[in-house]
Amino acid sequence: MSAEMALQEQVGASSLRSEDVNVWFGERHVLGGVSLDFQPNQVTALIGPSGCGKSTYLRTLNRMHELIPGAGFAGKVLLDGKDIYGSDIDPVDVRLAIGMVFQKPNPFPTMTIAENVLAGLKLSGRRGYDANELVETSLRRASIWNEVKDRLKDPAISLSGGQQQRLCIARSLAMSPEVILMDEPCSALDPGSTRRIEETIVELSDSMTIVIVTHNMQQAQRVAHNTAFFLAEDGNPGQVVEYGRTEDVFNTPSDSRTNDYVNGHFG
């Protein structure tokens, strides 16, 4: 309990920093010494070719990689200066403070839209919240309220793919996390839904820290303040080649490999 209190002491956006993160899947070394510093209230995009370890890295930020069989980890991830891999920290509390949105929308099919929004609170056993108000504010912040306000009792799978993804964002927001991690949240969606989710991301960055993995370089330029370019070369573990302000990474990259990638010469 004290660990959870410590993690949630500071309300609002938090700084997240990783120091020398290494990940192994069995014998395979997939991430080698990734150190990144995510600024509060900023959107950071992780870009790079497939298999460079950026999704894996994202998962280490709230310990979701621990669900993959054979995953090994070394390094530190600091949330407001506190290591989330500390011996006194429960991964469940980490995930309460650091929310996650997945590539494929995954609303809970047995629940209604409203129940889905509140699912996180029920699942973590919280009490003493105003359900109606929380549903409304969460759905508003995920900019889906106007589309679903008259059908909150409908099953969540009756929504379209884009709406389902925004519902999943609302579900995360209801937990009032300090950081939200997004793993290619728009790759399964049409351009219209993508635009709405991007607008939501920009709005949300006022109040929280966001890390987003994307294959879409225009998307990174549209939403992200900072961009990190990941690359895994010839069997070496994935590493950060370049990290900086998005304009700099895309327009005046300091590394030739970054230049090749952002200009579409490979990947």
Partner: protein
């Protein structure tokens, strides 16, 4: 008139359904290929006084294969031959299975229906002998006995089986392969062995006499593998994304399971329970060895009890007509019981229908 209309309202045209469009010549060919062999086969069978099965297999089948092959080649060319063969063999073997199943059902229903009456369903077997008229006595006591014995088995086995399924799907423990192998071995266990085990362990040793609960105990190892394996399949069908979604929201594993995985697998788990009941409701051997039989109505699970399968066994061992009729009647009652159980459970589980497989 229509020519002057600048923007005519488009009229819906009936959709083209290619599988429904039929070439009349082909249709005639197919009908001929189906009817002619049958007519020839019937005629030959009648002329040469052949036995039914011989006429069917030695005369009708070859004729049908030749006719269908010819029709296939005529319509589609060379590749039509293989097509025709596939269709002929598929139809032949599926009708074989259907005939087997339906003839069993038909004999039970037609014979059992002569016996069944309200009095047969509600009365017990007291003062009834093998030759007593069918207007007296019935299987009421055996219905209650079966429901109690199988009910107790279900009550114990379903939670146990689901727990095993959860262990197999939701954990990554090393013991899973051992458990899976043991479960497979258990599903091959002859039911009489389960009965003998309980008989020699509890009844011969004098721990208990013949008793309903001993019967339930003997049925448990028979039901367990069915429940566990079907429940495992049901849980495996729940997409991994739902579990990770719940865990990413900061749910402890047990809450994620009870609030997300379990509801999503509900229909499959009901099926697991049903198949388990269907597996044991007709078991005779273990019950003969453990609950014996009884002629009065009893709900005392610590004493000998009646059950439908043992009732059938008891009466079918006599060669009197009335006694055989009673056995048919009881067999029909078992079938009806299973049908009622299945229908109710289906109704309950489809109350709030969410089909996971459809939306993928």
């Amino acid at each position: 008139m229509t020519l002057l209309n600048p923007s005519p309202t488009p009229q819906p045209r009936p959709a083209i359904e290619p599988w429904k469009t039929k070439n009349p010549i082909n249709t005639r060919l197919v009908v001929a290929a189906s009817v002619i062999p049958a007519v020839i086969a019937v005629a030959l069978t009648a002329i040469f006084q052949l036995a039914g099965p011989i006429g069917l297999i030695l005369v009708f089948m070859p004729l049908q294969i030749i006719a269908a092959g010819a029709a296939g080649v005529r319509i589609y060319g060379r590749k039509g031959f293989a097509d025709a063969m596939l269709i002929i063999f598929t139809i032949f073997f599926s009708s074989l299975v259907a005939v087997l199943l339906l003839s069993v059902l038909w004999s039970v229903i037609s014979q059992g229906f002569k016996t069944i009456s309200p009095q047969f369903l509600f009365q017990n077997n007291k003062y009834i002998s093998a030759t007593t008229d069918l207007a007296y006595g019935g299987v009421g006591h055996a219905i209650i006995g079966t429901l109690l014995v199988v009910g107790l088995t279900t009550l114990v086995t379903v939670p146990l089986g689901v727990a095993i399924a959860v262990y197999l799907t939701e954990t990554r423990d090393r013991g899973r392969n051992v458990v899976r192998t043991l479960l497979q071995a258990l599903s091959g266990l002859p039911s009489v062995v389960a009965g003998l085990f309980v008989y020699s362990a509890l009844i011969v040793t004098g721990i208990t006499g013949y008793a309903g609960w001993a019967g339930s105990l003997a049925l448990m190892p028979l039901m367990l593998p069915t429940v566990a394996r079907v429940a495992e399949e049901a849980l495996r069908l729940v997409p991994m994304e739902l579990r990770t979604g719940a865990l990413a929201l900061g749910a402890p594993a047990y809450r994620a399971f009870f609030m997300v995985t379990l509801p999503a697998a509900k229909t499959g788990l009901v099926t697991a329970c049903l198949l388990g009941v269907a597996r044991v409701i007709g078991e005779t051997a273990p019950l003969l060895l453990t609950i014996n039989s009884r002629n009065e109505t009893s709900i005392d699970l610590t004493s000998p009890m009646a059950s439908l399968p043992t009732y059938v066994y008891q009466y079918i061992s006599n060669s009197y007509d009335t006694s055989i009729q009673r056995a048919w009647g009881a067999a029909l009652v078992i079938l009806m019981l299973v049908a009622i159980l299945f229908a109710t459970a289906r109704l309950i589980s489809s109350g709030k229908k969410i089909n996971l497989r459809k939306r993928k």
